[in-house]
Amino acid sequence: MMEKYRIDQTKGLEFGLYSLGDHIPNPLTGERISAQQRLKELVEASQLAEQAGIDVFGIGESHQSYFTTQAHTVVLGAIAQATSTIKLSSSATVLSVSDPVRVYEDFATIDLLSDGRAEIVAGRGSRVGAYHLLGVDLQDYEEIFEEKLELLMKINDEELVTWEGQFRAPLHHAQILPQPKNGSLPIWRAVGGPPASAIKAGYMGIPMMLTTLGGPAINFKPSVDAYREAAERKGFDPNELPIATTSLFYVADTTKEALQGMYPHLNGGFQAIRGGGYPKQQFAQAPDTRDALMVGSKEQIIEKLLYQYELYGMQRFMAQIDFGGVPFEKLMKNIEIIGNDIIPAIKKHTAK
């Protein structure tokens, strides 16, 4: 039912990793690796992820301090070359600051190079850096995204594109090349917590990638419901529209080890990127099954994922394991536990 988006539900919940390419000093040592090392480690992480049986690897763009993957499509190109089966996605592409034609050309190329593994997740971006740098007026934040996403979907659906809008020169019978391997790409809409944006995704009939960064998982349920309701109201079948959820993620052998391993990075990362730390009291509640922040022992993480699967009925879960200057050996350990213990358990329970 979801072939168009390359989702096979008989195989159970997909598990992916994503990175914003953040480039934050390791708070435990105060040291920051070079941007070059960080980029190379991301490519290496994608290979380890593939070997561990992880389904998807995503790279996002942020155009300001503390980030390295501004040219995320180039990084995805390198990953396409270094891997052979794992799906490749953006996480997300800040579509508002790019030309949808160029975005499509890039991803269609990655799709051909990777033998049909590329996907686009289009978002508006939660930071303003890209807008200033690339000269896009924040006043148009809402409308520019809607228009560009519509164009991107049109390019995906039609062979010759005729289009006119406010923020880009018109297209007249334009052929956008190269074409992806199987004629179209899966295109998702990145959605923040509140229902308003989820409803817009539903009206468009586009798959939704929903961030559930922390707090009670049940708080995100209204967005999932609103998405499916809106889709149905516009004549789309919600059963044909996949949903992905995302969260910050850290797993270790014991709860205590996971909490100790993640906290300095989470707190330091929040301080650097959001300008305020992560309260310990709130973090102490996070291992609870009902909390969306993915931190805990492998048993706890499995419980959380199955609980959320029951709650949202999503097709994919995307984990961010490298937030806040997490060193590579910790990433390797996380990928190892995900591959050995978490994926087999969740697939067993969710395969249809």
Partner: protein, 188 residues
Amino acid sequence: MKIVALAGSIVGSKTRTATQKMVEMLQEKYPQHEVTLLDLADYQLVFSDGRNYFEYEGDTKYVTETLMAADAIVLGTPTFQASIPATLKNIFDLLPVNAFRDKVVSVIVTAGTSKHYLMVEQQLKPILAYMKAHIVPTYVFIEEKDFLRKEIVNDDVLFRLERLAEDTVMVTEAFAEIRAKKDAEYDF
């Protein structure tokens, strides 16, 4: 401890006079603490457009970053149309949702008439509570008649300001201790 006193208006002298007086009292009583005065009349701030506070430039970045780095904030506000002035509201709009978490906020309010006595309760405290401040319960309400040529001439007001200075520091120290004790319970 970093204490920032914010005079929340860009016009008039009463709020500035009272906030300045508070700064002098704090500096005299607590020379060990760092006390900074931010008088909005001295800065050119933009209106909030929703971005992270540290992504603004110039005065806006300076003022918001100074407030975010504070352990305690003394807010001085006049009363405009039965509420706080737009300039002060803009400060709140520029800051994140939980900007005052783990911070103590105390209030000095000036007004043209005693009829505005409850303005702080009805207009200002709900905003501070929403932004997670530890609010010092009592505030100092100062009227037009308490000033003479940019000096406070009512002894009652001066005594109350002194007590507010003490309460601000005491509450900040108390919450820091509570927090340290609570944090010590966690093994991460």
